[in-house]
Symmetry: C2
Subunit: 406 residues, 2 copies
């Protein structure tokens, strides 16, 4: 017997047949003696429709009213799922965010969870009842509905799992796990049985869209064992767990890539103290998120080139902001390049192994791929290369680190 | 300055443009200095879709979960309406049933309102804020969402109007008022400026679909002045008010008709005590609602003919139930006739005027229309005639009672 949270994403509850199929999955766990709490997203497409309506009514709308509108999607699914369970003989009831309550701060539209009062849910486990909780929504101290931001249902599921001290939180989605690399590009990519929280965090923030970054952080902080698996198959997925649970740790667990980057180079920036702050201040004010930043020491001590990346959609706006500040900043010119890709090698094993970065640089060099920017963290090495090399770079690195499926 | 409730039905908030148009209507009242509470239905079509989903999941579903699902429709509209008001500079906030709270009993799917705690809404009137309340929904003592049954938003609006002691409750819909008869049939039908609660109740239960019967009852009990008017025009509608408010009361206010009736005649029923109970008991058990009942004294003291009406959809089932009980009940045969129409003359004035019924019978006789069944109440006379005469009967009576537009 285990206590588990099963979270079903939008594609897993997209229509009545899929809701019924998900209910059968819950029933199998209940029949096996597990205590089950279910967390559901809105039926796929619903949230987009609701968001579109809020924009059509008013582009600058009140976030509190936005939350009232968009939280309706999960409200529909939670009722339908409870009915579907009852229909196949499983005792179940729905819980809306305000009923639990799932307490959040008052940052409407992107609220953070403060506390989950799950005592009643646990009491009802003792009576054999399944709890079906609406994901994505909570309640603020002013008694108004909040939502957690896109993908927030994963975070809801993890927060509930932590509150009820669940043995596992299963995230059912339309992929069957976490792969060593994007299987659409790297045909030899393998599904990972396990991955550490830290690696999953890097993968999520590097563009792997399977789990919301915040949900992984929350799982890591509360040591909630996460499993990512397919709602359309009957096979184990990938477990996201503590490093200690992984006996034989690979040096590198995966190769991620993100095409959503654009490169900006400021040519001959005056090499003065405070120049970086002077450059990135205006970008921050414009809500442009800067990722990789590289600054070389200047050769002549007077001027240097500064390179960084921004989201591709923000390239034009970034150029405008910088050009408007050119006189004040004193650089010679600014060059933007959208045709780049960020390739990242991720693995907690690299902490204790030398030569991991060297192997990356050598593998790329062997294929004649020029590295434009390098950025590293404790468990990750990212490089920026021309996006024409995306597939070649991914496959070469996948082979170089011994990740290829046999 | 007045305090008013404005209720917008499904067709009046069917899309974003209509929601914006309704918001403009609210703004005009606010600009005129009125304190306004808005009550909205779900966007038209939404509730049907949600109900269909609940049936597809499980035909015998939990009414508590049904309420969770279908109440989501009004939740969407209430948020969008609050946004639309804010967008044109009107301070507004949405209120869900559980936030007010709109307290109901626990008869999920068809709950009755127990109390409306509207103090906070009234307090915010003082700050210039418009309250936008979700119709159709409330909260039961177990902290779960209830709904009031189809058309319940009218009842929500009247209950709120009573709670805040509103000067008027305006029901915006797709017709522009209450007519002396169906204007699609009687081209000379006139829109009534005023009608009494009692007459409106009879009209509603006789097939006029403009207002839900319960909402009229509630308005009558709390003396809430109701106005039915079009959301697509700028013209006064029909006021539903206390009899005393109507200075010059017509003898007859309207001619209603309902084609949703079928006639059943039991031929040669034994004239024993208790026979009526023996006949209608099985129909009641089968949830068949019997309307007009006529039984003549028997000529020979042994057997009589008994005639009554049931909803047309229930005719076949009624025949089955009666035929199955023929031996026990001892009637000779049963005859069903779906080709009938109920024509009703309604008016509080007939209480104090003799000859009202006579004028009806004479007018029908003049046109050679045979009356099959007669049934009367204090302010209504209904007759059953062959439905081939529907138009002729309505127009003749409309003229006979002097209702024709000049």
């Amino acid at each position: 017997m285990a206590r588990i949270v099963q979270k079903f994403g939008g594609t897993s509850v997209a229509d009545i047949d899929r809701i019924k199929a998900a209910a059968q999955r819950v029933k199998r766990a209940v029949d096996a003696g597990d205590e089950v709490a279910v967390v559901v997203s809105a039926m796929s497409g619903t949230t987009n429709q609701l968001v579109e309506w809020t924009r059509a009514v008013s582009p600058m709308h009140d976030a509190r009213e936005y939350d009232v509108v968009v939280s309706a999607g999960e409200q529909v699914t939670v009722g339908l799922m409870a009915m579907a369970l009852q229909d196949i003989g499983v005792d179940a009831r729905s819980w809306l965010g305000w009923q639990i309550p799932m307490e959040t701060d008052d940052m409407h539209g992107r609220a953070r969870i403060l506390d989950v009062k799950a005592d009643e849910i646990v009491r009802r486990f003792g009576l054999g009842q399944v709890a079906v909780m609406a994901g994505f929504q909570g309640i603020a101290s002013d008694n108004r509905i909040t939502t957690l931001g896109r993908g927030g249902s994963d975070t809801s599921a993890v927060a509930l799992a932590a509150a009820i001290n669940a043995d596992r939180c299963d995230i059912y989605t339309d992929v069957d796990g976490i792969y060593t690399s994007d299987p659409r590009i790297v045909t030899r990519a393998r599904k990972l049985d396990k991955i550490t929280y830290e690696e999953m965090l890097e993968m999520a923030s590097l563009g792997a869209k399977v789990l919301q970054t915040r949900s992984v952080e929350l799982a890591m902080n509360h040591r909630v064992r996460l499993q990512v698996l397919s709602s359309f198959e009957d096979a184990p997925g990938t477990l996201v767990v503590d490093e200690e649970e992984i006996v034989e740790q690979e040096i590198v667990s995966g190769i991620a890539h993100s095409g959503n980057e654009a490169k900006i180079t400021l040519v001959r920036v005056p090499d003065n103290p405070g120049i970086a702050a002077a450059i990135f201040g205006p970008l921050s004010e414009a809500s442009i998120i800067v990722d990789m930043i590289v600054q070389n020491v200047s050769e002549d001590g007077n001027a240097t080139d500064l390179t960084f990346t921004v989201p591709k959609d923000d390239l034009a706006r970034t150029m405008e902001v910088l050009e408007a500040a050119q006189d004040r900043l004193g650089f010679e010119r600014v060059v933007g390049d959208p045709d780049v890709v960020k390739i990242s090698v991720v693995g907690v094993g690299m902490r204790s192994h030398a030569g991991v970065a060297m192997r990356m640089f050598q593998a790329l060099a062997d294929k004649g791929i020029n590295i434009q920017v390098i950025s590293t963290s404790e468990i990750k090495i990212s490089v920026l290369v021309s996006d024409a090399y995306t597939e070649l770079a991914l496959r070469s690195l996948h082979t170089a680190y011994g990740l290829d499926a046999v």
